[in-house]
């Protein structure tokens, strides 16, 4: 059952594109590749809505305006959150960070950092930004306001992701190239320990009580449990192929781990360190091996989980209580990671191949905006805009 590739459709689309470029809609200014897929007009739920807006924006808008009057307008206005936040995105290929203002969704600043920036996280007070500069073999501490480098932390070789302990000063860094987790005191800039873990550690998380750290090893396919008091690896839990990201629930009772090649998310009971649930994903019209879970965001209220599904160009919305997938939201190409705003009303996704960030309206579960950033955006961290309310 082999068919030759479809003839390249999309020629002569320049006119259509011009007709509605400038609309404040996801993908405005270009037609996303998924418009060529039939499911864009066949699928159900929020997926079809977004796809419809994306691919047939002029028509869809006309229909919406005719049918619902001001509804479409309200949708557009809904894009503006009540409190402004700043979104920091690492551009892996450009060696820069793009800063997006959530009030306007415009890139306000771009500043250079070390080579191949990936993982990124704010200090508790939002005054320091930690960036894994993987190819510079360092974790950089940056003043987010000026973009100036404050310090290089000793990080071990090839740091990819890290997690800051709730104590605000202990940083756990996954060293992808040499199968270790490096523990760094960010105040004294000293290495507290290097812990031997499985091959290609990547995902890193610290429990909300600060007593347990975990790292996922991509080739060994395990979650390694580190006792923070003794800084020793005490246990390992096998998960599906290529675990990439780990995230503790706010209550600390469960740990969510995505497996990129296994195509699943494991929900692990922290007390027993056993997988209690394996969530799988199915998208009509997308080959199962293109569904590659990477980034995970969990809402603080414990209701929702968002899972970035890599080259399927979608984010899955999971009910965090029943573990059922409730929706798939189309975003840009090869979505890596996600981050929630302090108010938890917006989720941003980094789309590596299309070089943009998709903004998702959390209550409405729909994509509302696409923001062009640098090449290969990878990680995202959000803080309240200076002068705004305190965030996480």
């Amino acid at each position: 059952m082999i068919r030759p590739p479809p003839h390249r459709r999309g020629r002569g689309r320049g006119r259509e594109e011009a007709a509605f470029s400038g609309e404040a809609l996801p993908g405005a200014g270009r037609l996303p590749r998924y418009c060529e897929r039939s499911e864009a007009i066949q699928g159900g739920g929020p997926l079809s809505d977004v796809a419809l807006l994306d691919c047939f924006a002029p028509l869809a808008l006309t229909v919406k305006r005719l049918m619902a009057g001001g509804a479409a307008m309200a949708l557009l206005l809904g894009a503006l959150p009540a409190t402004a936040a700043e979104i920091y995105v690492t551009n892996e290929r450009d060696n820069t960070i793009s800063v997006i203002d959530s009030a306007t969704y415009a890139v306000t600043r771009t500043f250079p950092v070390g080579r191949r920036p990936r993982g990124v996280v704010f200090s508790k007070d939002g005054k320091r930004l930690f960036v894994c500069a993987s190819d510079s073999d360092s974790v950089q501490v940056i003043d987010p306001d000026s973009g100036k480098l404050l310090a290089d932390l000793p990080s071990g070789e090839d740091p990819e992701q890290f997690a800051l302990s709730p104590d605000g000063r202990t940083l756990f860094i996954a060293n992808e190239n040499n199968a270790t987790t490096t523990v760094v005191d960010v105040d004294t800039k000293s290495v507290k320990a290097q812990i031997d873990v499985g091959i290609e550690p990547e995902g890193m998380a610290v429990s909300p009580d600060g007593r347990t750290a975990v790292t996922t090893s991509e080739t060994t396919n395990m979650v390694h449990w580190i006792d923070v008091a003794t800084l020793a690896a005490v246990d390992a839990t096998p998960v599906d192929q290529r675990p990439r990201h780990a995230e503790f629930a706010r209550d600390g009772k469960t740990l969510w781990v995505s497996s990129e090649i296994g195509g699943s998310v494991a929900v692990i009971d922290v007390a027993t360190r056993k997988v209690v649930r394996t969530i799988r994903f199915e998208i009509k019209g997308v080959a199962s091996d293109r569904i590659q879970p990477v980034g995970i965001s969990l809402t603080d209220d414990g209701r929702l989980a968002f899972v970035a599904l890599g080259p399927s160009d979608r984010v899955a919305v999971v009910d965090a209580k029943t573990f059922q997938v409730s929706a798939y939201i189309l975003v840009g190409r090869r979505v890596w990671h996600t981050a929630l705003t302090p108010e938890q009303d917006r989720l941003v996704t980094t789309n590596g191949v299309s070089g943009d960030v998709t903004v998702i309206d959390v209550p409405a579960l729909r994509a509302i905006k696409t923001v062009k950033v640098g090449r290969f955006p990878w990680g995202a961290a959000i803080r309240p805009a200076p002068g705004g309310a305190a965030g996480k």
Partner: protein, 400 residues
Amino acid sequence: MRRGVVALAGGLVACLLPFFAASAMPALTADPVAVAYLERRIERPNPLNNEDPFPADEGLKGAELGLRDSNSTGRFVGLSFGLTSTVVEPGADIRAAFAGLLAGAGHPRFVVINAPAADLLTLADAPEAKDVILLNIGATDTSLRDVDCRGRVLHVIPSRAMLTDALVQLLVFKRWTRILLVAGPDSGDGLYAESLRRSARKFGARIVAETKFDARGADLRDSALREFALATRGPDHDVVAVADEAGEFGTNLVYNTEAPRPVVGTQGLSPAAWGRPVEAWAAAQLQQRFRKLAGRAMDPVDWAGWMAVHAVGEAAVKLKSADPAAIAKLMLDPAFEVGGFKGRALSFRPWNGQLRQPLYLLWPGAVVGMAPVEGFLHRSTELDTLGLDRPESACKAFGG
């Protein structure tokens, strides 16, 4: 005959690390899972263009890295792995070496074979191979996945059919579908050319003309400019495909064609399981680990050697068992999946034991594309658009 024993012991990897906090590792629960590596050395032509010498440890170094990786992982579940290796010279008795390996350290039940098809069949049919899994990393012959298949032989290296399918998919995608074919005199060249014809028919490309080229007796460094112009004269074509598996003239054909056309096939733009420019899907990590170990770039046979041992290791770790029978059973299970730094879960085809895998289309400078190429569809997995699909394979040895 050269024989070497490569390190066992799960402790090895830990010792290599400069300092680490004490870890609670489970105690080793069983003897190491024994894996063997057996290679038949092949005579190679002398390099024409001052290329790096052909690596004497091609394949073996990959298997050694697979052993290291498996031990790093295995120690978390109390498993360890051992590897013994034997390389036989051209003309030497590979069957005797095989028997020696099986009777040697740990009585290996998994043997990575880097040898031509005839040797592989000899070994597979030997009575002592009855409860042994052979992992083929050297023979690309499509017949081994077809009429000549054997029930306990798993093919980690892609077949010629998979390679040429990958190439023709890209050509069709680019609409470079008119192919002028130049084939060398060796039997492998003939098989590669035949595979190209078959792939062209399968995906709707066309061989517009064919010529034979024998580099022997000519000094290509002097004559390439004129000789290749003659050899590649023919009807209108989009690409010149070359079938020269040993590398006797193909590299010199590039930029020496009569018409300004790209060279594809065994040289020029080539389909391959792996290659130096491969970087995506975390391949960079595997490439770095290999370079550290071998002091050179990883090639397709090295990758297959790594993949073969890694597959055994992955099956053992999943089972948390060193029992060779249980590991073999899992590896042959259609549900068994293993990662290979190619962006997808890889698995063995239940009808002929071939490892399903994406292939690269690359030249020495860069990866041009990956197959299956977008748009080539299949009802179960697009990976099965490459090589012999279930209805196309005459293999019955797997009970299919």
